[in-house]
């Protein structure tokens, strides 16, 4: 695994996102904003909020996990793409090139976060690109813009004065599946383990 902070001294921006789940109210506005902005068809999502109900009455909570492409520092999808359609910009945004993608779906099955989808009419793979068109124009991604509680914070991780860099430096942040070594650039504050676990139906070999 490469150093997750290897881009710290670079002059280029390294875009990332911090999602403060303590602020998330599970309103799904980010989902809708993303769908409108990126014209995402019915039945598929670039970004969504996984909701879990846990605990026993009266001690119950709904735990949320806003999910989007993690824009990994070491993306597996870029490695496995046979035609170089999955690529990483110098500012770290992982993109799908619509002119190159042939729709073989290898990246979909190789992605540990299952954030890629097959576009039903274009026949190509698509995914969150941090609203790269908006980012290039100096705007924030639409999910960040739409979030009513500012749970999603977007910015340049290399710029020490940016809010994301400050949060990543000072808060207890975590990423999804750090063991795979993809070094995600979407950080979570207050991530609940229940939202990360897959539904367990098996009795493990070493389980009592």
């Amino acid at each position: 695994m490469s150093n997750p902070h290897k881009t710290e001294n670079s002059d280029l921006p390294r875009f990332g996102m911090v999602i403060d789940i303590d602020r998330c109210i599970g309103c799904h506005t980010c989902e809708i904003a993303c769908k409108i902005e990126n014209d995402v068809p019915l039945g598929i999502w670039r970004s969504w909020v996984k909701e879990i109900e846990k605990g026993k009455y009266p001690n119950v909570i709904r735990a949320f996990r806003p999910t989007l492409c993690n824009h990994c520092e070491n993306p597996i999808c870029v490695k496995v793409c046979p035609v170089n359609a999955a690529w990483q910009r110098e500012d770290g945004i992982v993109m799908v090139d619509p002119h190159l993608c042939v729709g073989c779906r290898y990246c979909m099955s190789a992605c540990p976060y299952e954030v890629r989808y097959l576009h039903p009419t274009k026949g190509m793979v698509d995914k969150c690109d941090f609203c790269s068109v908006r980012v290039d124009a100096g705007l924030k991604p639409s999910c960040v813009e739409a979030c009513p509680t500012s749970a999603r914070i977007f910015g340049d991780l290399n710029d020490a004065k940016s809010e994301v860099a400050k949060l990543v430096a000072t808060k207890p942040v975590s990423t999804l599946k750090p063991d795979i070594g993809t070094a995600p650039r979407v950080y979570y504050i207050g991530l609940d383990i229940a939202t990360m676990e897959i539904k367990r139906e098996v009795k493990l070999l070493w389980e009592k």
Binding site: I52, T67, C81, R105, S109, E114, L118, M196, V202, L205
Partner: protein, 299 residues
């Protein structure tokens, strides 16, 4: 731990067409192996199977990529882009070259064989063997390098694919040779020695194949949570009928028992049954591996 109120499911889109592609390349690789036994390695008793083998290998390998082209979203663009925008780190990149070079080599090999040029047949047969191994082994690599899926991500996957290719190829050759000898020769007599030798090879390859599956599952069952979960899914869960009964019992264990018992192996009824069961079982294996490997949600 909690009840899921809302989540987005992964689209399991890589499934049946890719399974058929794997199945037909496997049959092709297996029948090519049989055809090289006599011309490449000098095993004279397999000579009557050689021409059949090379014809089957070429035809099946012309058929197999059609499933691939149906699967991808942009068939013509995919052929072009695989060569022009090649990513050398992707296992899939090499497939495009293999799927073009291997049939060409097989056709040249077949032409020399039919013309009776033994020296050139041997040369192209021996060139073809690593190609046949690669054209099927790479399909196992494609799955093995899908890092996120624990069922696929094992070094055994290419080897399991190779062995299942060889057993299904031999089963198909047994059936094809029987049909040819019985209906399309002057004597109308089945070449018993050849069939018997092929059946013996089939038996031992099935032993190895079952051993590899056992190795794979013994490790999966002792591995991390997701690996154990997929092993349970295969052995006791929704996939258990297809994995345990169809793939392993019907497809491998029963044919192995049939071809291992000399009395049953000599009986054409049982041998035909074993070959058919094995071919069906390997098709189930392709579907189980491709579909079952990605059926469980990761997050």
């Amino acid at each position: 731990m909690g009840k899921v109120v809302f989540d987005v499911q992964y689209q399991t889109t890589v499934a049946f067409l890719i399974s058929y592609y794997f199945y037909f390349t496997g049959l092709s690789a297996g029948s090519f192996m049989i055809s090289t036994l006599s011309y490449g390695f000098g095993m004279e008793k397999f000579k009557p199977a050689s021409k059949m083998g090379v014809i089957a290998a070429v035809l099946l390998l012309l058929l197999a990529p059609q499933f691939l082209l149906m699967q991808v979203g942009w068939p013509i663009k995919s052929v072009w882009n695989h060569f022009v925008y090649l990513n050398p780190l992707s296992a899939m990149s090499y497939g495009a070259f293999l799927l073009i070079l291997y049939p060409i080599n097989s056709i040249i090999y077949g032409i020399f064989m039919f013309k009776g040029n033994l020296k050139m047949t041997k040369i192209f047969g021996l060139i073809g063997i690593p190609m046949a191994l690669a054209v099927h082994g790479y399909t196992g690599w494609i799955l093995a390098l899908g890092v996120a899926r624990d069922y696929w991500n094992t070094g055994l996957m290419p080897i399991i694919f190779l062995f299942s290719a060889m057993v299904s190829g031999i089963s198909m050759m047994i059936l094809l040779i029987m049909i040819r000898d019985r209906f399309f020769t002057k004597e109308k007599v089945i070449n018993g020695d050849l069939i018997d030798s092929l059946a013996k090879i089939l038996g031992w390859l099935l032993v190895v194949d079952l051993f590899l599956v056992f190795c794979d599952f013994s490790v999966l069952l002792y591995s991390k949570l997701e690996a154990q979960e997929v092993a349970h899914f295969m052995l006791f869960g929704k996939m258990s009928f297809w994995f345990v009964i169809v793939e392993n019992l019907v497809g491998k264990v029963i044919p192995m028992v049939i071809v291992m018992i000399p009395g049953m192996r000599k009986s054409y009824f049982w041998l035909i049954l074993a070959a058919l069961m094995n071919m069906a079982g390997i098709l189930a294996m392709r579907i189980v591996t491709v579909y079952g490997g990605q059926a469980l949600p990761l997050m």
